[in-house]
Amino acid sequence: MITDTAPQSSPAPDDDFLGGDTGKLGDRVFHGLSLGAAALILATLAAVATFLFKEGLPTFTGDKSELDNTESFVSYVGPLVFGTIYISALALLIATPIAIAVALYISHYSPKKLSHTLGYFIDILAAIPSVVYGIWGIGVLAPILSRSLYPWLDDHAGFLPFFGSDVNVSTSGRTMLTVAIVLAVMILPIITAISREVFLQTPRLHEEASLALGATRWEVIRQAVLPYGRSGVISGAMLGLGRALGETMAVAIILSPADGYFWNVITNSNSNTIAANIALQFPESSGLEVNRLIATGLVLFIITFGVNAIARKIANAGFSGADG
């Protein structure tokens, strides 16, 4: 910074506000504190990786007889990884189109005076605790879906492997599809918030150029707003995916889990997710079981880390072609 040398070059007046020559000591303390905090971030993350690794490692080296099922770690974590990714991808598939539409509504369709308040409503959706979504999902949404949507899907879309009719449709509604819908509601505000921001940043001139060519409002959006916001929308979606991958309580409360890989999303046999499995098993686990759960947590950390890294990369690479 240009001004870094200013304090030294000035004489120390005896004004109370300047505090005599405590300036130098104060500067050192303040600099030290803020540098320490920044360094602590680094140390904390190093500690997270180290401790998870250290506590997870005995899974591979320890005495397997402590476990009630002695299958290998890969065959234990495999269905969980599948369930985590499958359910999150479903949630993302449901949430993204709706989130883009809602973001467009707030940024380009709603009355200008209202758009701030509408954004506030969407933010409240993001602030509702996940445990509340969980009990709402199992207490309200699951019964409705199992009464209306699932029998219909079974009758009319049974030829698809996702709704195949070879197994019984869940009557409790505690299925992967219900979980995916609840997760979609939870990640929608994240995707909406980021998309809304980039849509609002579309250069005014791009939109006006399009309007001047006689474009309708939708054509303006297709020609100017969406191309400009594309990378922002994608990175928002990836952040939402990261949130869905790590979501624990809604899944743990709603899903009725089984062990294995299941494509059908409306039956009673559902692949569990890593996070929900930890929450369900941890309170009753001891010894090597705990180590195994921590190792699965490490796997989850690596997956979300990868997804978030991709999201940042897309966000940073964005806007290059459209800047103007």
Binding site: P7, S10, F30, L52, V102, W136, L188, R217
Partner: protein, 364 residues
């Protein structure tokens, strides 16, 4: 010829005859749209007929579907295909927004409706110690939530704020500052259950396996809250105009006093808002507390030792593993959920009020 009619490619088919002189002829403005929306509502209401009972969700969904399809069909006939596509996009976007309000209204309505069964003084003044069946309360959960969230705020706010000060005021564009920025991003992405496992693993080293305490819960939540505080404060500090800093330096004020007396007070509204929103986020966290603080039946005032119940964990436990009779347990769960939602709503409103009353006069 009118303006709108000129846009029609072949106006011989649907050319308006009697109101040629009106500029809106051949377009679907005002009354036409109103009629479509009204008709959609009526058709939506007719969808009750087969089942014979009022079904709000079906009403809304049928209305929206008819609205979208009807708008496109009518616009296609009356206006041009391009206008029809535009109207279709408007209809879809508007319907999507209405659709999203459904779960929000449903969640809030359900929580208020079912939570009010046990929204009484007993719920807020008694614990679950020795309670079998009906009665009991969540006093211990509220105490636990306040202690753990308080500790978390105590840790995360200075930690996050000083990191933000480093990034904005000291780090510049240096290598270390960029590394820290990247790591804060990584931290933002840590799944909450993983943060809980980390805190557990940390305390296992200190105290041995099976450790449960409020402090471990606070450490886990600190991991989740700090990056949110860093992001919010960093953004606010960067908004402070550089002229203010330079004016202060020109008067001979040391850098730390410039930060403490000029920069921070200017940004305080935004920072406080960010902190309150961060608290609102962590106060509803369940998973990390389930593995670190656990569940107790009575009040535990000591965060250093023993299990400590929090409201989210209480809600989860009472709903997922109800004691007999289940209805009493589930009522308690909904009451705890209502309490949580009220706390979050109060924090949200506080953040809004803070940001409006503390906004410095010079800015904006």
């Amino acid at each position: 010829m009118t303006l709108a009619a000129e846009h029609q490619p072949e106006s011989d088919t649907e050319s308006p005859t009697n109101d040629n002189d009106r500029i809106t002829s051949g377009s679907l403005a005002g009354r036409g749209m109103f009629a479509i929306v009204g008709a959609s509502f009526v058709i939506g209401a007719l969808s009750w007929l087969p089942s014979g009972s009022i079904n709000w969700a079906r009403w809304v969904i049928v209305t929206l579907l008819v609205y979208v399809a009807g708008t496109y069909a009518v616009a296609r006939i009356v206006e041009s295909p391009r206008q029809a596509t535009d109207r279709l996009a408007t209809a879809i976007v508007t319907s999507a927004f209405a659709l999203v309000l459904l779960p929000l209204i449903s969640v809030v309505w359900t929580v208020v409706d079912k939570g009010s069964n046990r929204f009484d003084w007993q719920f807020y003044s008694e614990t679950m110690r020795g309670v079998v069946g009906e009665g009991g309360g969540a006093y211990h959960g509220i105490v636990g939530t306040l202690i753990i969230t308080g500790l978390t705020t105590l840790f995360a706010v200075p930690f996050g704020l000083f990191t933000a000060i480093y990034l904005v005021e000291y780090g510049g564009n240096g290598r270390f500052a960029r590394a820290v920025t990247g790591l804060v991003d990584v931290m933002t992405g840590i799944p909450s259950i993983v943060a809980g496992l980390f805190a557990y693993a940390l305390f296992v080293l200190i105290d041995g396996p099976g450790h449960r305490s409020g402090l471990a819960g606070a450490i886990a939540l600190t991991l989740l809250m700090t990056p949110v505080v860093v992001r919010a404060s960093e953004e606010m500090l960067r908004l402070v105009p550089n002229e203010l800093r330079e004016a202060s330096y020109a008067l001979g004020v040391p850098k730390w006093k410039t930060i403490a007396k000029i920069v921070l007070p200017t940004a305080i509204a935004g920072i406080l808002t960010g902190v309150v929103l961060a608290i609102a986020r962590v106060i509803g966290e369940t998973a990390p507390l389930l593995v670190t603080a656990g569940l107790a039946q009575g009040t535990n005032w000591n965060p250093l030792d023993g299990r400590m119940t929090t409201l989210p964990v209480y809600t989860y436990q009472a709903y997922k593993f109800p004691t007999l009779p289940p209805s009493a347990s589930i009522d308690r769960a909904w009451a705890a959920a209502l309490t949580l939602v009220i706390i979050v709503a109060v924090l949200f409103t506080t953040a809004r009020i803070l940001s409006s009353i503390l906004k410095p006069q010079g800015l904006k």
